[in-house]
């Protein structure tokens, strides 16, 4: 952060003044109250004190130059960084009208005057940045939205800046919130469960397919936990192709249908597949006599506790398939 040092107004009818001398060099440490520079008007010569502690980072006006009141003379920075920061700051303030510094009473020649806290334009910009930081990158540039949209966004914990970043035109209305990407709350739960029973079953009868068992147990565990909700099972193979395994139960077609994607990784060296999307995904892998089952879900759609319940039910069925098949 840096403070602007400007040419003070020392008399009622004074428009300009001459910087006679700088008492500090660029980069030099400045204490509050240190004489900073000497200024001469047609009536008097005065010393001006530094109002802020810091480092004199950039002197813009050479000794002997006459400049208008309010003209930027120098910057005092919090830290003694290179001139880069100073340059940027200057570039910012260049584009803005110099504000008139507040000056305490001037009595006569060699009166010491104090340049009070000048809130520089660049300083103001930072203030805006910090106060509206929740509006993201375009801070300082007010986001236009209807009161309802703003209120709803706040309630939902959404950042309206995301709509701006998504290129949706302003002002935003309530309906625009629906176009906002859902903030992520994707989770994965892993479960390890004995594969012995399933493998024994497959050994006994060649007609039994492992993937089919996975599908059946998934459906059964689902309907055990979510009685009302229908489940549609989609298989995704390791080539990335998907096909529908079982459609939703027609009896419960009136209620909401959830789709779950199953991926059987047992024939691969892979251990799990996490999607990080709204889609519900279950991956199955096998190491020795143990399955690793991974459920990926969005906690905004499927509650964590329900996910745990569902996975536990699935685990019970995998461990004791005969019981389930009976």
């Amino acid at each position: 952060m840096s403070y602007e040092v400007k040419m003070p107004q020392l008399g009622m009818n004074q428009d300009t003044a001459v910087v006679v001398a700088w008492f500090k060099k660029e980069g030099e440490k400045v204490e509050k109250g240190d004489p900073l520079f000497e200024v001469e008007t047609d009536k008097a010569t005065m010393e001006v004190e530094a109002q802020k502690e810091g480092y004199l980072s950039k002197i813009r006006v050479d000794e002997g130059s006459e400049v208008p009141v309010g003209h930027l003379l120098a910057l005092i920075s919090d830290n003694n960084e290179g001139s880069d920061t100073a340059q940027t700051d200057l570039a910012v303030s260049d584009t803005l009208e110099p504000s008139e510094p507040e000056v305490e009473t001037v009595k006569n020649k060699s009166t010491k005057i104090e340049v009070r806290n000048i809130e520089s334009p660049s300083n103001k910009k930072e203030l805006i940045n910090s106060s509206s930081s929740n509006y993201g990158a375009n801070a300082g540039d007010k986001i236009l939205a209807s009161p309802k949209a703003k209120f709803a966004a706040k309630e939902m914990g959404f950042d309206l800046a995301e709509l701006r970043n998504a290129g949706i035109s302003e002002p935003f209305h309530f309906a625009d919130l629906g176009r906002m990407p859902q903030s992520s709350s994707f989770s994965s739960i892993y479960m390890q469960v004995s594969a012995e029973a399933i493998n024994a079953l497959i050994l006994k009868s060649e007609s039994v397919q492992r993937s089919l068992l996975f599908s059946k147990f998934t459906s059964s565990a689902w309907s055990f936990v979510f009685e009302e909700s229908a489940l549609e099972v989609v298989f995704k193979d390791t080539n990335g192709e998907s096909y529908l395994e079982t459609g939703a139960d027609t009896l419960s077609s009136s209620s909401e249908t959830t789709t779950i994607t199953l991926i059987d990784l047992c024939e691969t060296r892979l251990s799990a597949y996490e999607t990080g999307s709204n889609n519900l995904t279950l991956s199955f892998s096998q190491l020795q006599n143990e399955f690793t089952v991974c459920l990926s879900f969005n906690e905004k759609i499927l509650q964590f506790s329900d996910a745990v319940k569902f996975l536990n039910e699935l685990g019970a069925r995998l461990e004791d398939p005969i019981l389930q098949l009976i």
């Binding site: 236009l144 209807s146 009161p147 309802k148 002002p171 209305h173 309530f174 309906a175």
Partner: protein, 331 residues
Amino acid sequence: MRSITLSQAVNEAIAEEMRRDSSVFLIGEDVAEAGTPFKITSGLVEEFGTQRVIDTPISEPGFMGLAVGAAITGSRPIVDIMFGDFLFLIMDQLCNQAAKAHYMSGGKLNVPLVVRTNLGATRRSAAQHSQSLHALVSHIPGLKVAMPSSAYEAKGLLKTAIRDDNPVVIFEDKLMYQDKADVPEDEYLIPFGEAAVLQEGNQVTLIGTSSMRQVCEDAALILEDEEISVEIIDPRTLVPLDEKTILNSAKKTGRVVVVDEGHQNFGVTAEIASRISEKAFYYLDAPVIRMGAMDVPVPFSPVLEDLTVPTAEKVASNARKIIAGELLHEL
């Protein structure tokens, strides 16, 4: 149910109340022999006589002052002000005397009078006979203001007004006198401060006073063809105003167009829109739109006069824009 004109409904209300209460009398220009220029009070003088249906000279301040005195001393006068524009002539009697007597007497005096008058342009009556001046009296504490929007409301509100112990100004739209509506034969009253929700919807609320209710209903028909769901509210009385119904609707739809035939500047639409903005701000998804009469003296030229009042097309267009999120004014 039978259907009668607004004019008949007003006539019935006056007649019923005069039969019920012998302290009720009617006074004004041309109310007896001529039955007013709109033939509203025809037949009353035959039933109640010239002692209770009183023709006056052209002297609004005089007979209004008389009525205030009569009201304070136990009568219940109905004052007929032939055109709403003539309210300017009775401002002192109405606003300085009638409106304040109860307060300034510490509640010892009541002024149970009714001023019946009218509003509305597009009757080719030019600038001094076409104004809608209800905002003027709504501004004065101590007066109640009713705005019937059909024959049904005209009868029910007028009967309530006559029975009210406070001065009430009731405005009828002079273009609606021949409009018919279902009116029960049995007696009924419409309480003050209860708005009517004429149609429920959830995308936009149209609030229409007096004849602007019809404009809102026509606008709703246009919008329904576009599958826009419209809620229509008729406040029925401006003072007291049923803020609750209005705010609930504004909160539900998030978009409101307020339509009234008074001039838009500093008008009834401004008051209603402002209350919505203050009290339902966080529910609003669009600026509350005011639609009043154009801020010009009402022109005599029919072509120009028709341009000064809100129309169903204009109301529908504004509603459509705020639903689409279009801006009516530059940012």
